[in-house]
């Protein structure tokens, strides 16, 4: 049976809706379903309408649906805002202590959450677990499976708390069994799947960085990037790495450069405004050929913009940031799985070519949770590029030796008898400032020449859909899920729509992209921004101008339905 359910839990910040959402997502994942879950929240700690949306399906999913199967309303606002989204036969479960009776609402179930929490778990706040229990009951889930997930979730707070929550959830189940009259359209069917992790995009980046052997992360808190460093930071002590919260982003990138220069794999994690502050340091990385991975979690700008929402507005900025000319790579994963592998690749590219490499994400991908099979760690290859052995590293070492490939073997201070010198001034082979015209020219060519080799390491775009599609949706990064969903929908209706997804954007794989777009009658760029940045880049690099663009720039992620609708309207031309 095809299963595709969407659970939406809505309420105010501070009501604990994340807990219900996360518990349900995890419990459903453990039932073998594929999950896509994401949060919509405000830049505040208490109040404001927030929601958590979990999609659980019997097939892989990479974006959200508009139609809700089960709405859990912790406040009345949730019903006002999302009530219309509940699909045919869908269920509304609401906190009867927080709002007047919603009797008029079809298939609705009032649940006295605090009361249940108190009665069964001993505390009103456990009402959240009661809500999860009620949902689980309506789904027809195996009670023990929810128990287990609750135990794991609350284990950090001690056995007593965990057991109380289990009891509260059981209370919720009982209540739902007793009071819910109608049948629920969603009957959970357990699937025999391999075990899967439930991982946000940021979790995947953190895992990727750790697997790649990153030993230093410098950062200053900023949504939606912060969880990358907190997840990694939790491993300090267990794994050989260190995290330090910098006083600002300028310091963060320079600390990371210091660590990289001293010999470890090093990264920063930030968002637009923080990245803006790192731009001078980025240029220093370029000049001094210091490897660095930059995680850039985009959010809507300009300036502080919408701090907790999503956008893909910084592609061209990342591509051109930094004064002067130096090579770089820009990778943009489309889901958690790609986020892991591209982060690993980012470190290899950075060290092999001694350049800064971006992992370009956005709030949607950063915060959304995906089910992914555990990564094959044996397949994680660490290539640190050319590094002199301690014995070879003696007096006369030239950090920026002019070589055929433009790559000069690295050596690290204190790791041999020689000394390493480098500089943000134009320098000679030894790494000391020079004013010589000829050397300047050679050093520029050396640095930029590496782009050729870097380009050869860039993968072609991914293609999804039928052979010889009539229309191609050209997208990048987190646009993947929505475009695939749209294409599948349209192709099911008899169209021939393909998706070309660019995960590796720079050096731009022009020939591969031309090939991928070759047969298509129409190329439509699909991006979460207002100016059609990939479309511009495509024309710059290939001369191909997309026929139209599908754009969104209200801070809320697009999904398949949006793409289908906008495509029908012909898209827009932002260029």
């Amino acid at each position: 049976m095809k299963q595709d359910y969407t659970f939406l839990i809505g309420g105010e910040a501070g009501q604990g809706l994340q807990t219900i959402g996360a518990v349900l997502a995890k419990a459903l994942a453990r039932q073998g379903l594929h999950i896509f879950a994401y949060q919509d929240y405000h830049s505040r700690v208490r109040g404001g309408h927030n929601f958590y949306q979990v999609r659980a399906a019997s097939f892989p999913v990479g974006s959200h649906l508009d139609e809700v199967t089960m709405l859990v309303a912790l406040d009345e606002e949730t019903i006002k805002i999302h009530g219309h989204r509940v699909g045919e036969g869908g269920v509304v479960l609401y906190d009867s202590e927080e709002m007047p009776s919603q009797e008029g609402l079809a298939n609705s179930l009032p649940v006295p959450l605090k009361e249940l929490g108190k009665t069964y778990g001993g505390q009103g706040v456990m009402g959240n677990s009661a809500a999860a229990g009620a949902v689980w009951q309506l789904l027809g889930g195996e009670p023990a499976a929810l128990d287990e997930t609750l135990r794991d979730t609350f284990s950090g707070k001690g056995d007593k708390v965990a057991e109380a929550n289990v009891k509260a959830a059981r209370g919720g189940m009982e209540y739902a069994k007793k009071h819910f009259q109608s049948t629920c359209p969603c009957r959970l069917e357990r699937l025999l799947s391999p075990p899967r992790m439930l991982l946000t995009g940021n979790d995947a980046v953190a895992l990727g960085a750790l697997a790649a052997g990153c030993q230093f992360i410098g950062a200053y808190p900023m949504s939606p990037a912060s969880s990358v460093f907190t997840t990694m930071g939790r491993q300090v002590g267990r794994l050989p790495l260190v995290f330090e919260q910098a006083e600002d982003e300028i310091s963060a990138i320079h600390m990371a450069l210091g660590a990289a220069f001293a010999g470890v794999r090093s990264m920063v994690a930030t968002s637009g405004g923080g990245f803006a502050l790192m731009v001078e340091g980025l240029s220093l990385a370029g000049c001094s050929e210091t490897p660095l991975v930059l995680f850039l979690g985009q959010r809507p700008g300009p300036a502080t913009g919408l701090a907790t929402r999503t956008e893909q507005g910084d592609l061209l900025f990342a591509l051109h940031a930094g004064h002067g000319e130096f090579p770089r790579a820009v990778l943009a994963p489309g889901n958690a799985g790609e986020a892991f592998w591209l982060t690993v690749k980012a470190f290899n590219l950075a060290e092999k070519y001694q350049v800064p490499v971006f992992v370009l994400s956005d709030q949607y991908l950063a915060d959304a949770a995906y089910t992914v099979e555990p990564f094959g760690l044996d397949r994680v290859l660490v290539d640190r590029g050319e590094i002199l052995a301690e014995k070879e590293f003696g007096p006369g070492y030239r950090r920026h030796r002019l070589t055929e490939s433009g790559i000069s073997p690295r050596a690290f201070p204190g790791r041999g008898e020689g000394t390493v010198a480098t500089s943000g001034n134009e320098h000679d082979e030894e790494g000391y400032p020079t004013e010589k015209a000829d050397l300047r020219r050679k050093m520029t060519e050396k640095r930029l020449g590496k782009a050729r080799f870097l380009a050869a390491a860039i993968a072609p775009p991914s293609f999804y859909g039928p052979q010889n599609p009539q229309k191609v949706l050209l997208t990048w990064g987190s646009g993947l899920g929505a475009c695939r969903e749209a294409a599948e929908h349209l192709n099911a209706g008899g169209e021939k729509v393909g998706v070309v997804h660019m995960t590796e954007l720079w050096p731009f794989p022009a020939a591969d992209v031309e090939l991928a777009l070759a047969g298509a009658e129409e190329v439509i760029a699909v991006e979460m921004n207002a100016t059609g940045q990939l479309g511009r880049l495509l024309r710059q690099e290939t001369g191909i101008k997309p026929k139209a663009a599908i754009l969104k720039y209200d801070g809320r992620a697009m999904n398949g339905a949006y793409v289908v609708k906008e495509l029908a309207r012909g898209g827009v031309n932002p260029w």
Binding site: L207, I250, I253, G258, D378, T419, A421
Partner: protein, 285 residues
């Protein structure tokens, strides 16, 4: 000073004759040699400015970074390789203007870095602009009138942010400067030395002679480096008498101690393995 030869480089110096930087460079080489450091054990992170050129004229590991950014780079390097003797070095503009925020937080972190600020009270390299330490009433090329804002008092600033080692030297008092630098290099923590450095071209007010007529050694006059209140008071002097020496010194936990544990093996010597991530992956199942 035969041992100082190990730090010798043939690179021609581009400073003006008579510039205080020449003296500071010599003291730096001598002191490192006296403490028996070898070039490969030392990392000098330098900024941008005349002072910052110092790292071109001494053989050590060096990362010549951007204007104002020495301390974060030094911090990152020290965190992953505590075996390196890390120094940061730059001018008054590099430190107190562009780099001011980093000083505050390096002091808070107490990262084990020796920080030398060559304070000529002017922007040398860019030709005579106002510095945060330019005296009231001194001419600069920034304004058509003499400086009209009160300068920052570097020592009070450093004491106020709780730096664990605060000293002032004078390029012209070589022996004393060597002593101070030696103690700074031995200090487990963030050691700052504000060094009065004559600039013979752009600072015609605070000349060598001007400094020499005013400097005295606060420690010789009985000031003890554990007396914070006294240090704050003495730091207020800037006129007839200008104190030099060690104003304050205190032992406390360093950043490496705090984040990685005292005597933890350097991260650069530990090789991470992809498979070590397996337990963490399990947590997501």
């Amino acid at each position: 000073m035969v041992e100082a030869d190990r730090f010798h480089t043939a690179r021609p110096k581009t400073w003006c004759p008579g510039c205080g930087n020449h003296q500071i460079l010599e003291v730096l080489k001598e002191t490192l040699a006296r403490l028996d450091y070898h070039p490969h054990q030392v990392l000098l992170v330098s900024g941008i400015g005349q002072a910052a050129k110092t790292s071109q004229y001494i053989r050590t590991n060096t990362f010549n970074v951007l204007h104002g950014r020495t301390l974060p780079v030094a911090t990152g390097a020290k965190l992953v390789n505590p075996r390196l003797k890390v120094l940061a070095l730059g001018g008054d503009g590099d430190g107190y203007a562009e780099g001011g925020n980093h000083i505050i937080h390096a002091a808070r972190r107490n990262v084990e870095v020796t920080y030398m600020i060559h304070n000529n009270q002017i922007y040398g390299l860019t030709k005579g602009q106002l510095s945060p330490t330019t005296d009231l009433g001194s001419p600069t090329t920034s304004y058509h009138t003499p400086s009209s804002t009160r300068p920052l008092n570097p020592l009070r600033f450093l004491l106020g942010i709780g730096a664990s080692f605060v000293a002032r030297g004078f390029a012209g008092s070589r022996e004393q400067l060597g002593d101070i630098l030696e103690k700074a290099l031995k200090h487990r923590g963030f050691a700052c030395i504000d060094i009065l450095q004559p600039c013979v071209v752009f600072n015609r007010v605070n000349t060598s002679k001007w400094y020499r007529e005013r400097v005295y050694d606060v420690n010789e006059e009985g000031h003890s480096p554990d007396d914070l209140a006294g240090a704050f008071r003495l730091a207020g002097e800037w006129g007839e008498r200008i104190g030099t020496g060690i104003f304050y010194a205190e032992e406390r936990e360093t950043l490496n101690d705090a984040l990685l544990g005292r005597d933890a093996p350097p991260l650069v010597e530990r090789k991470p393995e992809p498979r070590d991530v397996a337990p963490l992956m399990k947590e997501y199942l």
